[in-house]
């Protein structure tokens, strides 16, 4: 459905006031929510129904005023100062956190002065109740002249009322015409400026023109000649922008402070007392960082140790399914396709759902509580030494789940160099897609022993790989810092929101959504690749497959092999001569110094679609290559994998470590490259990223293999 002709409802408000929560309730969509200023960095569109009218709902990034200081916020100024913008709203729902209403009136009165139809939604009324804060909606309604609805995004309360109020405003009822009674009265000088800009941009609203006078250089809808005309006007009247902003802000406060005082009872300070107590510990000079690393350790520990039973269960299920298919379907090509291609490919990957669910559960809990901005505060100083910003830590932590949203989260970093470096190094942080590869291969690199009786050696290796990713990210950040030059100033300046009880429903929904995305997206890719692979591995060019078969039988007779061994030999000779074998062999010379054979070569090629495909690919190749009736798990298949010529095991410690290192560093994710291209607006940076990560991967694997073998 095209939503371009529908009326537009904009959700606007300060960061972290609950816009996305309300968006989700109105549209039924699942926009990301979290207790951190700047969770939403791009506008997001959905549809809702008001009475019988469908309307387009836009969730905007949060901003404190119409004087934005970062890129995500400047989206707003481009839309709201341009009535011909395709997202310019027909009606605004101004969301305000009722527990700190006063400062949020600034943006509200600015929007009202733009003469937009507004409904004020007082959110977080459940918190107000808990803290005995009382407010008088009627009073606000009278003083502001706009409809006011108290809602709770957490309890999903009063949304019918909100919709009704919005619908009325949309129909032109209750619309406060602000043109003659603006909250901010422009100074004489500002009036002159506004009048002249009015004629340049064809505006009738003085306040809009004043905003344009402030931001014209960032406004995309103005052409070059308009910008230079406005520049002339601003210079002619000798307009001091900061002075103007101070005067406007103070004038507005003078107007609305009495209104808020009369309508809300409770000081802002008291509301933070709980947060202050917690912060005495969590941001403590010494205890703070210790707690942070303790938490991170806990996350990794949980990923590894909580997941073993559910993983065994899933593995068993897929093995049973494969056996069932093989024993109940005729021995035909499609049975092989299903059992060897699809089922084993899928099973090899879906087994990692428990680990991915745990990772997302813990990271979204940290976000919901409000801990992320504390980490930003504590590590800003260290991050700067690496050319990063405190905010980079949010990208780096969420990069542990997936690099795609992490790269988008960098929009809150206003300094281009710091943002670019964060984007470049975030994919080095081990994401959830690497978990399958790590878990599978660690078993070959490290024995399952307990060090000192209680530390699981494999878990330690797992953590070591994550650590390696982090070190790799920080070191490359330093190198980028030395290479890239910028004159731009860098800022920290971040709000530390009050701690909140996590919304468990939100957290669980996030986990479910991520797991579903993993199943469907990864599942789709794996399905397609499994089928292609199955084909490539089962058929070969010309008569080669037949010849390989005959040669294998001859060889088997010469060696006096039994029936099973003969079958295996035939299968492996055949796959070697298949199309897949052909591709793998083509890159074998390049990867041989790393200890990889052509089977691994195939898996590396397919991994460029997405890393988790590695496991599925291995499963498919080895299922086809062994003609046993019993479906065994992929782990067992790899254990048995031997080089048919020499009879040596393929997965030695050296090969496994080398392969692990390759997956730690290599850029094998098309989605990440695509999002980096989008965020940096050029192919230059994803290309550089691909090659520098590739070089790191190749060199570290080479060194490791040569040392270990």
């Amino acid at each position: 459905m095209s939503d371009n002709n529908l009326p537009t409802l904009a959700l606007l408000g300060n960061p972290n006031c609950g816009k996305s929560s309300i968006f989700n309730i109105l549209t039924g969509l699942r926009q990301k929510v979290g207790n951190f200023p700047g969770v939403t960095v791009d506008k997001k569109v959905g549809i809702t129904k008001l009475a019988d009218q469908s309307v387009k709902v836009i969730d905007f990034p949060g901003t404190y005023s119409l004087y934005p200081t970062s890129k995500d916020e400047s989206i707003i100024i481009n839309t709201f100062s341009n009535p011909s913008d395709q997202n310019y709203p027909d009606v605004v729902v101004y969301v305000a956190d009722v527990t700190k209403l006063e400062p949020q009136m600034l943006l509200l009165t600015q929007i009202l002065d733009l003469n937009l139809p507004v409904v004020l939604a007082l959110n977080m009324t459940d918190l107000a109740e808990e803290t005995n804060l009382t407010f008088d909606e009627e009073k606000l309604r009278q003083e502001l002249g706009i409809p006011v609805v108290a809602v709770s995004g957490r309890r999903e309360e009063n949304f019918d009322k909100l919709k009704e109020a919005v619908f009325q405003v949309y129909q032109g009822i209750n619309h406060l015409d602000q043109s003659h009674n603006a909250f901010y009265k422009l100074s004489e000088n500002e009036k002159h400026i506004a009048k002249e800009i009015n004629s340049v941009i064809g505006s009738e609203n003085d306040y809009r023109s004043l905003i344009v006078a402030h931001h014209y250089s960032d406004l995309n809808y103005l052409d070059g000649s308009q910008k230079s005309q406005i520049e002339e006007i601003v210079n002619k009247f000798d307009y001091n922008e900061l002075r103007g902003q101070i005067d406007e802000t103070m004038a507005r406060y003078n107007r609305f402070t009495p209104i808020v005082k009369s309508a809300v009872r409770k000081s802002n300070e008291e509301a933070r007392s709980f947060t202050d107590k917690v912060d005495r510990i969590l941001t403590h000079k010494i205890a703070g960082p210790i707690i942070f690393f303790g938490l991170m350790f806990l996350v990794f520990h949980a990923i590894f140790s909580w997941s073993s039973y559910p993983m065994d269960g899933i593995e068993w299920m897929f093995a049973e399914a494969g056996t069932f298919l093989k024993s109940n379907l005729p021995d035909a090509w499609y049975t092989s396709l299903l059992a060897d291609g699809v089922i084993s490919g899928l099973g090899g990957v879906l087994v990692f759902i428990p680990q991915i669910a745990i990772l997302f559960l813990l990271i979204s809990l940290l976000e919901e509580i409000g801990y992320m901005s504390r980490a930003v505060f504590m590590f800003d100083n260290i991050m700067q030494k690496f050319g990063l910003n405190g905010r980079s830590i949010v990208a780096l932590i969420s990069g542990g789940a997936c690099a795609v949203p992490a790269v988008m989260a960098t929009r809150t970093i206003s300094n281009w160099k710091e943002r670019l470096i964060t984007i470049m190094v975030t994919p080095l942080i081990s994401c959830s897609a690497r978990i399958p590869v790590y878990t599978l291969l660690i078993a070959f690199a490290v024995p399952p022993i307990m060090i000192g009786g209680f530390i699981n050696a494999q878990a330690l290796m797992f953590m070591g790989l994550y650590l390696l990713g982090i070190i790799g990210a920080l070191l490359s950040a330093v190198i980028f810092k030395l290479i890239l030059k910028t004159e731009e100033h860098s800022f920290l300046m971040i709000e530390l929101p009050p701690y909140r009880k996590p919304n468990i429903k939100n957290v669980l929904l996030t986990v479910r959504e991520k797991v579903e995305a993993f199943i469907f997206q990864a599942g789709k890719v794996i399905m397609i690749i499994s089928i292609i692979l199955w084909f490539l591995a089962s058929y070969g060019p010309g008569q080669q497959m037949e010849q390989a078969r005959e040669e294998a039988i001859e060889l088997a007779q010469k060696r006096d092999l039994n029936e099973d061994e003969t079958e295996d030999l035939i299968a492996s000779k055949q796959i070697e001569n298949s199309y897949a074998g052909f591709f793998g062999k083509a890159i074998e010379p390049t990867i041989e110094p790393l200890g990889f054979n052509w089977q691994i070569g195939i898996a590396i090629i397919t991994s460029f679609a997405a890393r988790e495909v590695f496991v599925g690919t291995m499963a498919t190749i080895y299922s086809i290559a062994s003609k046993e009736d019993d479906e065994v798990t992929i782990r067992n298949k790899l254990v048995k994998a031997t080089d048919p010529e020499t009879g040596e095991k393929v997965y030695t410690v050296a090969t496994s470590v080398s392969l692990l290192l390759f997956y730690v560093f290599a850029m094998q994710c098309m989605s990440t490259l695509a999002v980096v291209k989008r965020e940096t607006k050029s192919w230059k940076w994803p290309t550089i990223q691909f090659f520098f990560m590739g070089a790191m991967a190749y060199l570290s694997s080479l060194i490791a293999y040569q040392l270990l073998s």
């Binding site: 200081t69 006063e102 900061l242 802000t249 000079k285 800003d380 530390l496």
Partner: protein, 75 residues
């Protein structure tokens, strides 16, 4: 001249003026104006970031950012 960077932990003072436009703009947006009270909640060692409270907001500023905020002399 007293700046916010020189204010001790747990102490409060009144803002006199701003010297950096970007910092000023952001603080103004949060309703933190000349004349507002501002409190230092925590200072990290090694000229690290400073955790401040004003107008009901918790805010983190870098040391040099805080140095651009001038304070009224305490009486």
């Amino acid at each position: 001249m007293a700046t916010l960077a020189s204010l001790k932990e747990k102490r409060s003072a009144r803002i006199l003026s701003f010297q950096d436009d970007r910092i000023a703009s952001k603080l103004l947006s949060m309703g933190i104006l000349p004349g507002s009270m501002i409190q230092v909640v925590r200072k990290l060692p090694g000229r690290g970031a400073i955790y401040l409270k004003a107008n009901g907001y918790g805010i983190a500023l870098r040391n040099h950012e805080a140095a651009s905020v001038l304070l009224e002399e305490q009486s």
